[in-house]
């Protein structure tokens, strides 16, 4: 019987657990015991991760998946209300259901569309920096900068009035925490859904120039489906980029030569953002896929019904794919990382996330050239307990 369970304790805040690195150096795929006793797999290699994520033999539907690590929310995975994918929550659908939603939304997130948003993102960034300067120093960079920028941007894009954010921000936090009790998570999702359902109703009455109104106008989705799409985009838009901005700033502040390169050389920024995405890989405990039929990945046969956890931080440090993979080097060409996933579920909002980071990092570093941590690096609380990695708080001064 295999004894491996998923290692989650990090010895250094920016690196995957040492046990994971050791596993990756041995093989790309490993037998692993899941929290409910299921005998599944752990993928640590870059090529194997891509192969699983691109294969139509694997499902992303929640009823097939086993939980890789224990959490207070584990019982949720087996509850009937959890096994049902809410209408519109297409992240957890397979084709052809997934295809219908994805198609409706891709036109809203094209490279060109994101370019037209850039001036607005720059304005939002400058306004947050003004507020941060007025408030500090010292300030918590998460509260003043990393969270409000993506939050304001996704609210504006979706058409959610930012003044109403208190009605869902607490909920997104509960959902992202591995410590949350099952009942609290169900309640939080219920509250966010209820809020968005109401908003969809208001938009039907009074459409505006935003994504939700546009989707309503297309006439293809029911109010329940629109709510599910809205919930998914709102949660995804809040937690991911916010943690990249927070953790990315921590990484730069603790690597001053890299910070200087990002600040002083505009030609470094695009690559630098890719490299931070690769090196930090904030999706640190998944994704999970489950085989619908027997399938061979790199010489290993995965049987129908077996769950596979893809360790993205490990895959992004694979020496077979990236030279000197353990080093943070903002000048390297880091394209090809798996931080946004791969295959049909690859992040829909990735071009928006890129635009936000390409604007926000240099704006911050140039506005506050003396930016530094207000505590020691060891005192910064890391989000090991959340499904999206990052810093809980980042006290800074300048």
């Amino acid at each position: 019987m295999p004894e491996l369970t998923m290692p989650t304790t990090r010895q250094r805040p920016l690196d995957p657990p040492d046990e994971i690195t050791a596993l990756r150096q041995q093989a790309a795929i490993h037998r692993m015991t899941y929290a409910d006793g299921h005998q599944g797999w752990l993928v640590t290699g870059h090529a194997a991760a891509r192969a699983v994520l691109a294969s139509p033999c694997f499902s992303n539907r929640p009823e097939h998946a086993h939980p890789p690590i224990p959490s207070a929310r584990m019982e949720l995975a087996t509850r009937p209300e959890r096994l049902r994918v809410p209408p519109g929550f297409f992240l957890r659908m397979d084709p052809p259901d997934h295809t219908r939603f994805r198609r409706l939304l891709t036109g809203q997130f094209t490279v060109r569309r994101m370019k037209t948003l850039e001036p607005r993102i720059a304005e939002i960034t400058e306004a947050c920096l003004d507020a941060m300067e007025a408030a500090g120093p010292p300030v918590d960079l998460v509260q003043e900068f990393a969270l409000p920028i993506p939050s304001l941007v996704i609210c504006e894009l979706l058409g959610v009035p930012y003044e109403e954010r208190e009605q869902f921000q607490a909920g997104t936090k509960v959902l992202a925490s591995l410590e949350s009790k099952a009942d609290d998570a169900v309640a939080a999702l219920g509250e966010i859904s209820a809020y968005l359902y109401g908003l969809v109703g208001r938009k039907r009455e009074k459409p505006a120039d935003d994504l939700l109104s546009g989707l309503i106008e297309s006439g293809e989705l029911s109010d329940e489906e629109l709510t599910g799409v809205g919930v998914l985009l709102l949660i995804a838009g809040h937690e991911t980029t916010a943690n990249m901005l927070g953790l990315g700033t921590y990484a730069l502040l603790t690597n001053p030569d890299q910070l200087a390169a990002m600040r002083d050389d505009p030609s470094v920024v695009d690559n630098g953002v890719e490299e931070l995405l690769r090196h930090l890989t904030i999706i640190h405990l998944g994704p999970i896929r489950t085989a619908l039929e027997d399938v061979e990945i790199e010489g290993v046969t995965i049987r129908a019904g077996e769950s596979v956890t893809i360790h993205l931080p490990a895959a992004n440090r694979d020496a077979a794919r990236f030279t000197d993979a353990e080093r943070l080097d903002v000048t390297r060409p880091a394209g090809g990382h798996l931080t946004f996933g791969h295959g049909i579920h690859q992040c829909l909002g990735q071009q928006l996330a890129r635009a936000e980071m390409r604007i926000a990092y240099p704006a911050l570093l140039r506005r506050l050239p003396g930016l530094r941590l207000a505590v020691t690096p060891e005192e910064v609380p890391m989000r090991s307990d959340m499904s999206i990695y990052g810093v809980h708080r980042l006290p800074v001064t300048w």
């Binding site: 691109a54 994805r102 036109g107 997130f109 094209t110 490279v111 394209g335 295959g343 690859q346 829909l348």
Partner: protein
């Protein structure tokens, strides 16, 4: 070098348009790949090959 793009497979992630904007664009309504030229000039061949490997859906191929 000739490119083929299968829009029925494309998921509109935009990696191609980001990597080689001279060759790839995305349609306004569906966000799926649009080929701006299917015969690739030699100096863009490497970039196009990179775009093919970066495409998450396998919609692109070259011959």
């Amino acid at each position: 070098m000739e490119i083929k793009a299968d829009t029925t497979v494309c998921i509109g992630a935009g990696m191609c348009a980001l990597t080689v904007p001279k060759v790839f664009d995305q349609s306004e309504d569906e966000g799926t790949v649009v080929l701006l030229q299917d015969d690739v000039p030699q100096e863009l061949e490497d970039a196009v090959r990179r775009a093919v490997t970066l495409c998450p859906s396998g919609a692109l191929s070259v011959s």
